[in-house]
């Protein structure tokens, strides 16, 4: 199982946290996003509205970064503080 975290607008749409058994063939950040967009219209809609970066185990990663079971994968909309 991977642990998915959603922040900001994505957190409102998806809930803060989900556990997901990564399907076969979902081995990169990009592939996970494609999988979620295809399988979850709420995610697809939220993802379309904003640019999202991914952090795997608390480090921001490129779209082609590998992911696997046991990873914590965080979905980060554009930062906005202050």
């Amino acid at each position: 199982m991977a642990r998915l975290l959603f922040f900001g607008a994505l957190g409102d749409a998806m809930g803060r946290e989900r556990a997901l058994a990564l399907p076969d063939g979902v081995a990169t950040a990009d592939a996970l996003i494609a999988y979620l967009c295809a399988s979850d219209p709420v995610f697809a809609d939220a993802f379309r509205r904003t640019k999202v970066k991914l952090a795997v185990n608390e480090s921001i990663v490129d779209p082609e970064a590998p992911i696997g079971d046991g990873d914590e994968i965080a979905f980060l909309p554009p930062f906005s503080g202050g």
Binding site: A9, T50, E58, L76, P77, F79, S80, G81, G82
Partner: protein, 147 residues
């Protein structure tokens, strides 16, 4: 000192404590951001963050500031969770021997917090809740510091 603060805080107590810590400093710059109540019927700001990651990211920016300017100290307090209109949401203060270093580091850190620190900001008003992304001006301000 970097503090994510879930409760109301008094920025003047922080400033006063900070100035006691940095006795030798000739120059103390500071910035206080307050939740503005002048638009629509905004009632509060909600700040989401990524526990652990947000603190570490801010520490990185503070270390960058300390590398770029000869600082004698800095303090950052940032609210998380819900902050009602009229309350401080962020305090940045910097101390240095001379004023330009203090001013510029304070300005740099605020630009960082607005656009590059892992926070997400939602306006809560009578009309509902709206997630706020930085304005183009915020990104332009931040770009001033690129080396």
């Amino acid at each position: 000192m970097i503090l994510l603060e879930p409760h109301s805080f008094d920025p003047y107590m922080h400033l006063s404590a900070f100035s006691r810590e940095t006795g030798g400093a000739g120059a103390i710059a500071s910035f206080i951001g307050v939740v503005r109540g002048d638009r629509k019927d905004v009632r509060a700001l909600f700040l989401d963050h990524f526990p652990g990651v947000t603190e570490r990211a801010i520490k990185g920016a503070a270390a960058e500031a300390e590398g770029r300017w000869p600082l004698l100290g800095l303090r950052i307090v940032h609210r998380v969770g819900e902050t009602p209109v009229g309350e401080p949401v962020v305090l940045v203060t910097t101390a240095a021997a001379h004023r330009r270093a203090a001013f510029e580091a304070c300005d740099f850190l605020m630009d960082y917090l607005k656009t590059d620190a892992p926070f997400w900001k939602k306006e809560i008003s009578g009309e509902g809740e709206v997630w706020i992304e930085p304005r183009a001006k915020d990104y332009a301000d931040r770009a001033r510091w690129s080396k």
